[in-house]
């Protein structure tokens, strides 16, 4: 992508800026659409209409809300630790923004084709924990502190099953690059990893059940990592008011919110890439069929977004259906069930891959 813009514009600075802007646009769009979608999905599940006034079916509601957020007074309590308090939302947002740099929306639209993309993604999204702890501690509010403590323990615990499943997929595909992983699952949907990957033969069918288990484990643990119901314990509204961002308002609060919705799409994208072919079309490309090859990247963007938003929709669906677990139940789910299963799954996939 950088190469393309460099050749087009002939300027390193411009090309770098544009390349850097791509993830930013992606994360902002994901957040804006995510907030709107959440409102509509929840509304229609609950016999309501949701926002209807701003634009057609209220599609500009989120934009209007963010304009409101920008205009709000930045009220800061006198008792807070100013430096950390101001740094925390930036750090949290940076974490989710930076994660978008390696997510391939298509074979052409990708911030950077890092060879260690998946490693980088896991590492950079852990930055969020530091931001959350900062926010909770610096707010000087007991509810925030409790929320931050819960959040840190939750996110760190659930990173383990996520990492184990990712590891098994890395073992199977033999690459750390998200782009390459997507390319391997090309052509039709039976080449997706959830259905045993692009290879044929006995091993493919042997793999399918373990791939499904892996998918379920990573989906549950990413759900917990982005603090969604039934794992929204850190910000449990009915217990901790709003958890770690109770004391925030205006644009700083909006940054927590943006990053939350940004993360939702990011983890859905990760699941899509690992198991559901990434940006690959399930039924071949229209551009291939009619011989217009420049169309293919656009089709890929469409498929990636469609798959990603489908998983975001499932997250919302779960959120508005299920109650919330308790802290100890959440931890026991992770340590007693997910981690052992993920580990066994890792070993079995490893053995099958060796065969």
């Amino acid at each position: 992508m950088y190469q393309y813009f460099y050749e087009l514009l002939g300027s390193e600075i411009l090309a770098t800026l544009i390349t850097a802007a791509v993830p930013l646009v992606n994360v902002l769009l994901a957040a804006l659409i995510g907030v709107y979608l959440e409102r509509k999905v929840s509304a229609h599940m609950q016999d309501r209409l949701g926002p209807m006034r701003t634009g057609w079916h209220g599609i500009f509601q989120t934009v209007a809300d963010f304009i409101k957020m920008l205009q709000k007074e930045d009220a800061v309590s006198t008792e807070v630790d100013k430096k950390l308090y101001n740094l925390a939302p930036v750090l949290v947002f940076t974490g989710s923004f930076a994660a978008y740099a390696v997510i391939p929306f298509s074979s052409k639209v990708i911030g950077t084709e890092a060879e260690v993309g998946i490693f980088y993604l896991l590492a950079i999204s852990s930055l969020v924990v530091a931001g959350i702890l900062m926010a909770g501690w610096s707010s000087n509010n007991k509810y925030s502190l409790l929320g931050a403590m819960r959040s840190a323990s939750q996110i760190i615990s659930y990173e383990i099953p996520t990492a184990i499943v990712v590891l098994s997929m890395v073992m199977y595909t033999g690459t750390l690059s998200l782009d390459k992983m997507s390319q391997m699952q090309t052509a039709y949907f039976w080449n997706w990893n959830i259905l045993g990957g692009a290879e044929f033969g006995f091993a493919k069918f042997l793999l399918i059940p373990f791939m499904i288990v892996g998918f379920i484990i990573i989906y549950i643990s990413t759900l917990a990592e982005v603090n969604r119901t039934p794992f929204d314990i850190p910000e449990a509204e009915s217990e901790l008011v709003a958890g770690y961002f109770t004391e925030y308002c205006g644009m700083k609060w909006a940054m927590f919110m943006l990053s939350e919705y940004g993360n939702m799409f990011a983890v859905s994208g990760l699941v899509t890439i690992l198991f559901f072919g990434g940006y690959q079309s399930p039924l071949g490309y229209f551009g291939d069929a009619i011989g217009v090859h420049w169309m293919i990247p656009f089709e890929q963007v469409f498929w990636f977004i469609a798959k990603g938003w489908f998983f975001v929709f499932v997250q919302m669906w779960l959120r508005w259906t299920l109650p919330r677990l308790r802290v100890d139940q959440l931890m026991s789910l992770c340590w007693k069930y997910l981690i052992p299963y993920a580990f066994v799954n890792l070993i079995i996939i490893g053995i099958i891959t060796l065969l």
Partner: protein, 371 residues
């Protein structure tokens, strides 16, 4: 050397999303473990009892509306029964029937709020809105009858403020038929949800003896397994003519007397209320609802204690009359106030998240606690 630790004091409320009003809880925590819970009340104190002394008997009725504002009809009911007992008034059959129907509709409406907000406390948002949708239908029936949706001032001493609307019986029957399947829906959506059971079963167990020692009544007492309902044990109005069960906690998914039992007793009580409504709605006799209203309410000297079973428990009115047009003293035994006291016992040794679950299952209305 042992690590030196301190307990943390967490102030929950009066501005908190789940304290069901302006209750303030002082929690003493060790990590997230509860050491002690001290409820602080009085943020909604409006001197109801003192006000009543300066008012004529019928002027007190609107104030009773504002005690348990989720079950205003029943608060009216209890008060007018007490005054009628004091004066020895016999009310017409039609009035008896309409009062009972309103009372049972109110019980369903009140339980719908209790169950919905309980789901909300546990984190399930959607059942809350489903139940409010159904409650709205009951409120529309009330609105059609007396013009108000929340604070009715409907039952008067010796009669009612308005007769029912000609369509009332038909619409109530429609509601009964509509509402039966939604209880099944609630069961599948919330009551038997795995996570919901995890959160509420074996939490906040209220043993029978503790319940009796604290004077707990209503669904809380029945949740602990005691079949005690004033509609059956000390019948008032015309409740002894109807056939209905008294659901009690059986510990279906946990221990008898846990949060889930208290929750489930309310669900089953709605079914029983529907049963009573079905029996009563077609049998309303003809008559005048205002014929027995005395011109001047001036009870003889004396005292009276009268109690009714509101959705929250035993609501008692103790009235002293000195023979004038104003009551000398009105004392209310509010069920929420008494039930709230047991909170400290229930919360010991649980986590912060459980306090919310337990408080929700107690189902308090602060208007009644503070009066």
């Amino acid at each position: 050397m042992a690590l030196k630790t301190e307990t943390m004091v967490l102030n929950m409320g009066p501005q908190h999303p789940s304290t069901h009003g302006v209750l303030r809880l002082e929690l003493e925590l060790e990590g997230e473990l509860i050491k002690k819970v001290i409820p602080h009340i009085g943020y909604l104190h409006r001197c109801f009892e003192k006000h009543a002394e300066a008012m004529q008997y019928n002027q007190v009725i609107p104030y009773t509306d504002r005690m348990d504002y989720l079950a205003s009809m029943y608060n009216n009911f209890g008060y007018v029964i007490a005054v009628e007992k004091l004066m020895g008034i016999e009310v017409p059959e039609r009035v008896q029937y309409i009062r009972l129907i309103m009372g049972e509709l109110q019980r369903i409406a009140s339980h719908l709020v209790a169950l919905g907000t309980y789901g909300l406390d546990i984190g399930a948002f959607t059942p809350f809105l489903y139940l409010f949708r159904d409650r709205e239908k009951i409120l529309s029936l009330f609105e059609m009858t007396c013009g108000a949706r929340l604070l009715y001032n409907y039952m008067w001493v010796g009669g009612l403020s308005h007769d029912i609307h000609p369509d009332f019986q038909r619409l109530t029957k429609e509601f009964i038929n509509y509402f039966k399947p939604t209880i099944v829906e609630l069961d599948s959506l919330l009551s038997y949800n795995k996570i919901f059971i995890e959160r509420t079963a074996n939490i906040g167990i209220l043993p029978v003896d503790t319940a009796i020692n604290y004077g707990v009544t209503g669904p809380m007492l029945r949740g602990s397994g005691i079949k005690f309902d004033l509609r059956r044990n000390d019948p008032y109005s015309i409740y002894n003519r109807f056939d209905f069960d008294i659901p009690v906690g059986k510990g279906l998914v946990g221990t008898v007397g846990d949060c889930w039992d208290r929750y489930y007793v309310r669900v089953r009580e709605m079914e029983e209320s529907l049963k009573i409504l079905e029996q009563a709605i077609d049998n309303i006799p003809e008559g005048d609802v205002q014929s027995a209203i005395p011109k001047r309410i001036k009870p003889p000297k004396g005292t009276v204690y009268s109690r009714v079973e509101t959705p929250r428990g035993e609501l008692g009115y103790f009235i002293i009359s000195d023979g004038s047009t104003n009551p000398f003293r009105v004392k209310v035994r509010a069920p929420s106030f008494v039930n709230l006291e047991v909170l400290g016992e229930l919360c010991k040794g649980h986590l912060v998240a459980d306090v919310i679950a337990i408080l929700g299952s107690v189902d308090i209305v602060l208007g009644e606690v503070d009066r």
